[in-house]
Each structure stands twice: as C-alpha cells, then as structure tokens.
C-alpha cells in the first residue's frame, strides 16, 4: 500500500493551518478586546456593531457581493467583456436541451418532496407506538449520514449494467435476471433514468421526513386523540380527520425544505450520469457552462434563474417568520 504520507510534503498545509489559526485568534482577540473596553452600560449600538462585524463582513464578501456580480455577469458575454443584454437568457430558453433541463428540474422539485413526504408519513404513522419504533427510525435515518457523492457511487453500482449474456454485476439487474427478466440500462433510457436518479434522493431523504413527521405526530395533544377514539373514529378517520390536520405545519416544512433543496440539486446527477442521457438539471448545466465551456455569462444567467425560482420560498419564509413574531 502506497501510503505516501510523508509529513514534510504535507507541511505547507500545516503552515497554512497555523496561519489560519493565528488570523482567527487575532480576530477573536480584537473583538474581545474591543468589547472589554466598552462597559455594557454604554450604547448598545456600539456593542452590536462589534459583535456583528465579523458575520456581516464575511456574509457580504462571501455571498452578497458575489450574488450582485453574478447578476451583472449574466448580462455580459462569455468572457465577461461585452454587454449583451438579455442574450444569455434568450439562449437559456431557446436551446433545444433547455426544455429537457427544465423538465428534469421540475420532476425533481415536484416528485422528491411528494414521495419523501408520503413515505415518511406512512412510515411514521406505522411505527408510532410500535415495539421497534426507535430502531426503525434509526435505520431509515442512516442514509442521511452518507454524502450525495457517496450515495451516487453506491447506486451507480446498484444500477450497473452488463450486456445481455454477460454476468450482471448490478444489484438491480441481478434481481431482474433472477426473476427471469431481461437486464436493463437503468441510467441510459430517458426519461425513466431521471426517475431512477430520483429514487436515490428519496432513499436519502425519507429518513428526514420520517423523523420530522414522527415528532409532529408525537406532539398531537393526547386529549384530542382520546376524544376521537371515544367518538368511535376508525383508523382511517383517525388519520384523515385528526392526524393529518394536526401535523399540517410539519408537512409543509418538509415539502418546502425538500423542493428548495432539489432546485440546487447537483451532486447526484454529476456523480451518476454527469448530466448525460438527458438527465441534466439546472445546477449541473450551470457548472458545465461556467466551468467547462467557459461561458460565464450563460452560467451566470442560469444561476440567476435558479435564484428567481427560489424567491417564492424566501418570501414564504420571511412571511412565516413575521407571523411567528
């Protein structure tokens, strides 16, 4: 085994780390020193400024300024020199592949939240008060620990295909052959291949939905449940009249969180198909344009479009925020 891990080759990294630690401690020291000089009785505004300065500065440099620059770049040519107006946006909606990319993104945004919520809900209701509840929830939650890249690798193997006659090595095709079926190229045939990629995401996220919804079910006041039972509500009535209305907010949280996450989806598509075979999505297309083809303007336009799609979620969040207050 070539564990070529000689420390001297890695030493620049530790120098970098040391520089980083020193810089970090310097900032911490500066903040604390400034705070030490100003007794609490003085103006709160000064304190707030000192306390917030690092976070606000970093957020501005790291996100807000780049976001504004991306918007400007989306009106520029590929190399970022000439102003081209809306040409990049026009390109985005007229290229033939665009329809596929948008269709796929839509499929992810709609199907993943629905499937995840449905599975999570059924599972949470079934395991509620069962003997194996905590074990069952842990099992379904475990895939959350795996990175999307790792999940992509695992499922690429599950879907692996060898030509007919050869020995199938993919788990799914082995099962298919075993039952006497013909092996399929799961990741090649559009549009079904996008569905098979979606299964991977459902596999990862079902645990999240289960845990959130199960907690919501647990917090339904027991007197409501008791009253419904006394009135002779059957299991179906119980579910539709009591459980479902009571956990509506939690269901909305899961739906919103999931669809928001799927808009940015990149890792699974990148690892499993690279966006080939008509499986590409917005973020993958943005990566290709900006970082593979050098079309900065087009990449920026795609990023801006992504953001526009997210804005309803932002507005929704801000409004519920206000409602809570």
């Amino acid at each position: 085994m070539d564990l070529d891990f000689d420390l001297s080759a890695e030493s620049p990294k530790f120098v970098q780390l040391a520089i980083g630690v020193v810089a970090f401690l310097a900032v911490v020291g500066l903040v604390l020193l400034l705070l030490d000089r100003t007794p609490m009785r003085q103006r709160a505004r000064l304190h707030a400024t000192i306390l917030l300065a690092p976070a606000v500065t970093l957020l501005t440099i790291g996100l807000i300024v780049p976001a504004v620059r991306t918007t400007l770049l989306s009106f520029m040519s590929g190399d970022g020199t000439d102003f081209v107006g809306l040409a990049n946006y026009a390109w985005m909606f007229t290229q033939p592949e665009a329809v596929t990319v948008l269709r796929n993104t839509l499929a992810w945004v709609v199907l993943v939240p629905l499937l995840v919520t449905a599975i999570g809900l059924v599972y949470a209701v079934i395991v509620d008060h069962s003997r194996f509840e905590s074990l069952a929830k842990t099992l379904v939650f475990l895939p959350m620990a795996i990175s999307f890249v790792g999940a992509g690798i695992i499922w690429k193997f599950v879907y692996a295909y060898r030509p007919e006659g050869a020995d199938q090595i993919g788990l799914l095709n082995q099962v298919v052959v075993w039952f006497g079926g013909e092996p399929r190229q799961w990741l090649l045939d559009s549009p079904l291949n996008t569905l098979f990629l979606i299964v991977v995401m459902v596999w990862i996220q079902a645990g999240f939905a289960t845990v959130v919804l199960s907690a919501a079910i647990k917090s339904i006041p027991s007197d409501i449940v008791e009253a419904a039972k006394l009135d002779g509500a059957g299991p179906a009535q119980m579910f539709f009249r009591v459980t479902l209305p009571s956990i509506r907010p939690a269901i909305i949280v899961v739906l919103v969180t999931q669809s928001f996450g799927m808009l940015k989806l990149f890792d699974i598509v990148r690892t499993m198909t690279g966006g080939q075979f008509d499986t590409s999505v917005l973020a993958n297309e943005m990566y290709n344009q900006a970082f593979r083809y050098g079309e900065t303007g087009r990449g920026a336009a795609l990023a801006v479009f992504l953001f526009v799609l997210v804005t309803p979620v932002v507005v929704y969040q801000l409004r519920t925020r206000r409602a809570v207050r």
Partner: protein, 269 residues
C-alpha cells in the same frame, strides 16, 4: 391482519434503507470477480483492506482525508464562534436597524450557493487561492443559518435578568460574553458545529470547482474514483466506505442531538 401489514411495511422500508448500504460494504470487502457470482455474495469477505489500499494507490486519499478534516474542522469552529457572537447581539441587544438586519440574514439563508460561485471563483483565481484549502475555508467561515440558529437559541435560553444583573455590577461585555453567554450557548453551539462539520465534509460543488484532483477533499477524490473509464465498482465502494466512516461514527454517537438540530434547522435545506 393490520398488525401484520404494518410489520411488513416496516420491514420493506427498513430493507430499502439498509440493504444498499450493507451490500455496498459486502462488495467493498470482496474481490472484483465476486461481483458476478450467482447467487451474489451476501456476507462480507476478507478483501476490504486490500481494496482500501488500492484506493490509496489510485487517488491521494490520505491527503483528501487530511484536507477534509482540516477544512471541515476549521469551518465548524469558526461558524460556532462568529454565529454565537452575532446571535448574542440579535437575541439580547436592542439597537436601531436590528429587525431589518435579521430579516436580511434570514433571506440570505435561502440564497443558493450557486448564485455567488462564479464571481467567487474569479476572485480566487485573482488572489491565486485556487487549489488551496483557503478557498474552501475562508468563504465558509460564517453562514446565515448559523447566525439564525444561535439567535433562536439564545433568545430562548439566555436569561435577560442575568445580563441585567451583570450590567448593574458594571461587568464589561467581554466578561458577560465569556462567563454568561458562552456557557449558555454551548449545547446549541455544539449541535451547530456538528451540522456544519457534516455539511462541510459532504460539500461537493464548490470543492469540485476550485480544487484540483491532485489536492482534493474526500468528496472530490471519491468522484475521481467513480469517474474512471473502466468502472471499478469495488474501488469506488471501498473509498465511499472509508470516506463515510467518520460521519457514521458521529451519527451513531450523537444521533439524537443531530436529529434535534436538523429539526430546528429544518428551514435550512
């Protein structure tokens, strides 16, 4: 009957969740030739360490693990500290412009990272940070989610009377922060640190953009492993197992706290 049905569902879902994981460990511990066996092998074999050794030969995996630990660790520590500072200000100080600033923070939380990545990359090229870990750590030193998370927690958990009492005694803000705020914030900060570490460990888009395959993080190294022309599944799965092990350990040890944190932060996405 109903009972049997529920056990069946339970089994089916648990099988769907666990079996791909289990089977990939089985494959990672066997020789390539075992893949085509009929029926497929169902128990782990003895080849795991040999396969892992091949992973280390194919990509700079030791370096990737070191990089990921350093990057995710630094980010987690910085996010915990800066978020606690800002969260304290938002939760317990009243100053002009606070509400609007907090609103902007919440809005920022929803902005997809992709929106800033192109200019950020141009900046990294200009200051020659591409390929270096600085490019991963510095832009991630603070995030809106962390600030929001700590604000939520501190406004509930930090007793205003305690701060008032300290104020009356003439304690400086430094002393209050060190002796009152930090101890109160510790449990939430720990959860935040864990979540941050996990998401930094699993991050892929930005590292893929800004790093080179010669000096990767774990996720970038894994994607290199999996993108070979001749797809060596055993290799990819063995790498995935090693690259996921740290997080699985964290999950087993601290699962409850992680779930709690994810629930509170369900808005993050």
């Amino acid at each position: 009957m109903r009972r049997r049905l529920s056990y069946l569902t339970l089994l089916a879902v648990a099988f769907f969740s666990i079996f791909p994981l289990y089977y990939s460990v089985v494959v990672a511990s066997r020789h390539n030739s075992a893949l085509a066996e009929v029926p497929p092998p169902l128990l782990p074999g003895g080849n795991f360490f040999a396969n892992v050794a091949r992973v280390f030969d194919t990509v700079p995996f030791a370096m990737a693990l070191l990089n990921s630990f350093l990057v995710a660790g630094s980010i987690a520590v910085a996010v915990m500290f800066f978020s606690t500072l800002a969260g304290f200000a938002f939760a317990k100080l009243s100053f002009r412009g606070k509400n609007i600033l907090l609103l902007i923070t919440v809005a920022t939380m929803m902005v997809p990272a992709q929106l800033g990545i192109i200019p950020l990359y141009m900046l990294m090229v200009k200051i020659e940070w591409t390929g270096s870990m600085y490019a991963l750590v510095v832009p991630a030193l603070v995030n809106a989610f962390g600030v929001f998370f700590m604000t939520q927690y501190l406004s509930r958990a930090l007793p205003t009377e305690l701060l008032e009492a300290g104020r009356v005694d003439g304690a400086t803000t430094w002393r209050l922060f060190w002796h009152v705020v930090l101890p109160t914030a510790r449990p939430a900060a720990a959860v935040l640190g864990m979540l941050t570490f996990m998401s930094a460990w699993n991050d892929y888009f930005w590292p893929l953009v800004v790093l080179t395959p010669e000096n990767p993080t774990v996720q970038v190294a894994l994607s290199t492993l999996a993108s070979g022309y001749v797809n060596d599944y055993v290799l990819g799965l063995a790498g995935t197992a090693v690259g996921t092990l740290p997080l699985i350990l964290v999950f087993i040890l601290l699962g409850k706290q992680i779930i709690g944190g994810i629930m509170q932060g369900a808005v993050k996405g």
